[in-house]
Each structure stands twice: as structure tokens, then as C-alpha cells.
């Protein structure tokens, strides 16, 4: 067998394997979307059908009229956007300062930042709840945002990118050229961090979008639920009606899939390429 033949065979096997993995990963997703369009009778058919025989929009109609699903999505969206903006802003500033102004005290602060990452949220969830309650922030976006304004991983990610891809000389050149520190941050550092900041934005957005434990203890009124809490609530109230839950879940996926598709390039670039750029 020649080398090209062998290479072709290897490629073929790789393709087949990847294809199978893809199908395995996609099946639950397709099944979920399909279930949203099924009648309650078809839901119970075994083996489950991949494509509904008699597609119906009834489930979606019910979900949107009988529950405040749109309101929940809006809550989640607001929460996720505000959290993303805050995390991007704090990470950019803190990461840049820790990366480029390495005083000893700043390094200690950085280590403290990192240390927070190893404390599980569940450990301080209850004290945090009482604080938020004392502040009168229960059932408000403000209360939801507590704990979602700063991300230690974000600071770490930006710091690493600053160190790896922004040479000191660039900042020094700007200082000699007459730029002030804020100017440098805004016009030199931020444009160069576009990639990692976009990646961080995607991470932060999904972190907030998929948050569950914190929203469920802070948001007690049905109208102020986030989408995750709403979906969970759904499950207990309508346990039997799987098709309704499927329709709600499928509807909820739309914005996040859309966001991922739009930001995919940044997402991959920012995580993969933090190496030297000229």
C-alpha cells in the first residue's frame, strides 16, 4: 500500500469516526426539537420517532400563552448582558493592570483573585443570600448580578493575553508619544485585546444564561424568574406534559445557539490563539 493510500484510508477512518461522534452528540438535540413539534400521543411512542409524523405548533402556542416564557427569556437576557458587560470591563482593567504593573501587592491581590476560583459557590451561597436580602435586592436584577460582576478566570485570561501579546515597548512608545495611561488603555490595549475579550464575553454570557442555583434562591416571584428557573418550574408543574417542556426548551435554545453561531469565530480564536502576535 502506498503512502498516499494509507493517508487516504486514515483520513477516511477519521471522517467516519468524527461523523459518528457528531451524530451521537446531535441526536438528543434533534430529539428535543422534534419533541417540541409532537402531539402528546406521539411523545410516548416507542421507539421514539426522530421526525414528528404529524407536526404541530400547539405546544409552542401553549408555552408562550400559558407561561411568561418571553418574560423569563427577557430577564435572563438582561441579566446575561449586564453580567457580560461588567465581567468584560472588570477583567480588562484588572487583567491589564495585573499583567503590566507588577507591584508585589498587586501580585498578592491577583493570587487572592485566583484563590476565589477554588471556593465552590455553594459554600458562600447562603451568606450571600442573606446579604442580598439585607440589601433589599431579592427579586431584582441587581440582586441577581451580585456574584456575577467579576470573574476570576476572566481576569486570569486577560492577564495571560496581556503578558503574551502586548509588548512593554508598545506601551512605552505610546507614553513617549504623549499618551496618558487611560488613553493607552482605551486606544492601544483594548483594541489589541478584542479577540480574548470577545471570547470572555461569550463565556460570561453563557455562564449567566445557564445560571441556576443563584437565580432560584434570589428570584422568588414567578415574574422575575430567569429562563433556567422557569424551565425547572415548568417541570414540576407539568411533569406529564413532556412535549410542552420540549417546546419551551427548544424555544430557549434559539438565542443561545444564535449567539454562539455569531460569535463562534471569536470564541475559538480567543481561547486558542493567545500566543505572540506581531
Amino acid at each position: 500500500m502506498s503512502a498516499t493510500d494509507r493517508a487516504r484510508r486514515t483520513n477516511f477512518l477519521l471522517d467516519v469516526t468524527l461523523f459518528v461522534i457528531c451524530i451521537l452528540l446531535l441526536t438528543p438535540l434533534i430529539l428535543l426539537i422534534a419533541n417540541g413539534f409532537k402531539t402528546p400521543q406521539e411523545m410516548l411512542v416507542w421507539p421514539p420517532t426522530l421526525f414528528p409524523k404529524d407536526p404541530t405548533l400547539e405546544n409552542f402556542h401553549k408555552v408562550f400563552t400559558e407561561t411568561p416564557l418571553l418574560r423569563w427569556m427577557l430577564n435572563s437576557f438582561l441579566f446575561a448582558i449586564l453580567s457580560t458587560v461588567a465581567i468584560v470591563a472588570t477583567s480588562a482593567l484588572a487583567g491589564y493592570i495585573i499583567g503590566k504593573f507588577p507591584f508585589r501587592t498587586i501580585n498578592i491581590i491577583f493570587i487572592l483573585f485566583l484563590a476565589t476560583a477554588i471556593i465552590p459557590f455553594e459554600v458562600y451561597m447562603i451568606p450571600l443570600y442573606f446579604q442580598v436580602k439585607a440589601l433589599g435586592l431579592l427579586n431584582s436584577v441587581g440582586g441577581l448580578l451580585v456574584g456575577y460582576l467579576v470573574m476570576s478566570f476572566g481576569i486570569f485570561l486577560i492577564r495571560q493575553n496581556v503578558i503574551a501579546s502586548i509588548p512593554d515597548e508598545l506601551l512605552e512608545a505610546a507614553r513617549i508619544d504623549g499618551a496618558g495611561e487611560l488613553w493607552i488603555f482605551w486606544y492601544v490595549v483594548l483594541p489589541l485585546l478584542r479577540g480574548p475579550l470577545a471570547a470572555l464575553a461569550v463565556l460570561a454570557f453563557f455562564q449567566a444564561w445557564t445560571a441556576f442555583a443563584w437565580p432560584i434562591i434570589v428570584m422568588t416571584r414567578k415574574k422575575s424568574f430567569t429562563i433556567e428557573v422557569g424551565l425547572a418550574n415548568f417541570q414540576s408543574a407539568y411533569t406529564v406534559d413532556l412535549s410542552l417542556l420540549s417546546a419551551a426548551s427548544a424555544a430557549v435554545m434559539v438565542p443561545s445557539v444564535l449567539a454562539f453561531v455569531l460569535l463562534r469565530r471569536n470564541f475559538v480564536e480567543g481561547i486558542a490563539a493567545s500566543g505572540m502576535k506581531e
Partner: protein, 354 residues
Amino acid sequence: MATVEIKELHKSFGDVEILHGISFTIPDGAFVALVGPSGCGKSTILRLIAGLEEITSGEIHIGDNIINDVEPKNRNIAMVFQNYALYPHLTVAQNMGFSLKLLKKSKAEIERAVQHTAEILGVNKLLHRLPKQLSGGQRQRVAMGRAIVRKPQVFLFDEPLSNLDAKLRVQMRAELKALHRRLATTTVYVTHDQIEAMTMADIVVVMRDGNVEQVGRPLELYDKPVNQFVAGFIGSPAMGFLPATTKVGSSEMVLSDGQVLSKPTCAALDGGYIIGLRPEHIQLGGNGASFKATIEASEQTGSETLLLARLADQEITILLRERFDTPIGDVHTFVIDPTAVQVFDSKTGARLET
């Protein structure tokens, strides 16, 4: 344009003192090269002049002002970095106009200045490109353009040519020199390459371990180095050094292998010394002090022959301006003009006038 004066400059990083009281003056409009092996503190001086590091003690004057506590942006200097430090997200024109924009000049004024500078440097066709779309030499030119465009009092260059290939380096050397002649701006140029220093500078400052060893015109350093370090550092191929002894009244320097080099002017000397031989002063024949040396390696470049030879258990380099084909291991007699033999104190390394 301005004179730059450095007085008793000390710089420490923590407990480590990098500069031990440096003083020298850069005349108005001069091209001064700071040269020395890596770690000698030459870049630190440049960064202190630029204001990128804080002065531990001492003074730096630019023109009539002490600039110790002046912000970098108010020092009216421009710096070209080794890695060019071009803003990657800005075009060539934006890079060059950056400082003018910060000075709040009008758009038309910035455009005119950038265009003018780009023409001087031959980069006017590249103005809309990003730095990553430029070759090394082009980036170098843009970096210089960014420095020139604001018409500073002093240019600071930090090893600007060391990232270029050999051929381009020679070309840029000439261009930089021509640019300096045209602009006549006071220039401080840091390099570890003594050829760059010798060929470009009006004045060369040779440094070692945070001290200035010698300040002088290039050929002055070459012909009259103050000590063995400068003698060995300046000149390529480098000077060869041999231990030798002599007695008062004698006109001979005796090498460690017993060979005798006649040097009539050494009559006042007594004891052990180091003698220095420049490779190009050694010849195959003619009048002068003669010695025998064993050939260890030979490189023929066509126009000249570079020999590595062993003399009195030391390696010396011999540069002949002719072709000379010799088998390795052969012993040949060479001749040197005794006045070209330099004598150094074996303890202090200082050159002795003989």
C-alpha cells in the same frame, strides 16, 4: 535640537546597581553611539533619558533643562525600539501620526507631516497598510518615521537594526546616517555591534559593567584605546593579546615562548606587560619586529586572507590583504611595525604611551 548632558548618573534596581556614576555630554546635533557588551547598562541609559525608568541619583539635562522629573511625553524626545513597537491595529499613516494626534494637531496638518516624512523614508506607498503587512525593513522605516514626524529635540535608538538581516542592516546603516545628516537632530544610538557604532557615530561611548570606559571619535578609540577592554572591543577582527616582559633600557619585549619582539620605544618599561597586535598590522614581509607563529586555521575571502595563528601559546588573528595559501600547522614568519604594537599594564589593563 539640543545638547544632552549626563552627570553622575546612578541607577539601581533593588540592591543591584546597574550604572555607577556615568557622566558624558552629547553635543547639539551629534550622533552618539553607546556601545558595549550586553548587560553593560547602555540600554538603561537610553531608558533613563527617555524617562521610562526612574533615575536613582544624578542628573540628565536636555538643552537647559534638568529633565529628571519630567514626564516622558514632555521631554520632547522620540524613541525607536528594537522590535519597532508599531501599533498592530493601526495603519502606517495612523502609526506615524499617533503623536501628532495626541498633540491635538489638525487633520490636515497631520496628513501633511505624515506624507512629508513618508516621502523622506520612501514608505509613502505603504501608508494604508497594517504593520503585519510590511517587511522587516519597511517596519523599521515606519518606526523611524514615527520618531521623525514630530520633530523631537533628541532621537533615541535602541538597537534598531538588530532584527534585520545582514544585507539590509548595512543598507539601513547608510540610510540612517544620511537621515541624520539631513535632519541634524541630536541622536543617541545604542548598539552592541561595534561596527555599527564605528561607521555611524560622530562620538562613541564604550561601556562596560555600568561604567564608561572611553568616549571619543571612532578612529580615536581604534588607534588610542585607553585600556585593553576598549582595544579588544573595538575593531573586527579583534586585537590579539600576548603577555610579554621587558627590562629597563631594553628595546625588546620577550614573549612567554622566548621569542623577542623589538620595540625601541619601550626602554622605560620594566616587568610584565600585555602587548596588543591588530590583525591588519601583521604582514608577511617588510621591515619591523618579526615573529614566528603556527597557522591553526585559514579563511580565504578572495580579497583577503584571515589566519588564526598560535603565538606564545595565545591565539592571534592575522588579516592579510592578499591571497596566502598555507597548510594548517605550518610555521611562518610574520612582521609587524613596532610602533603599531600597543602595550597595556598587565594589572590595570590601561594602555601605556610608548
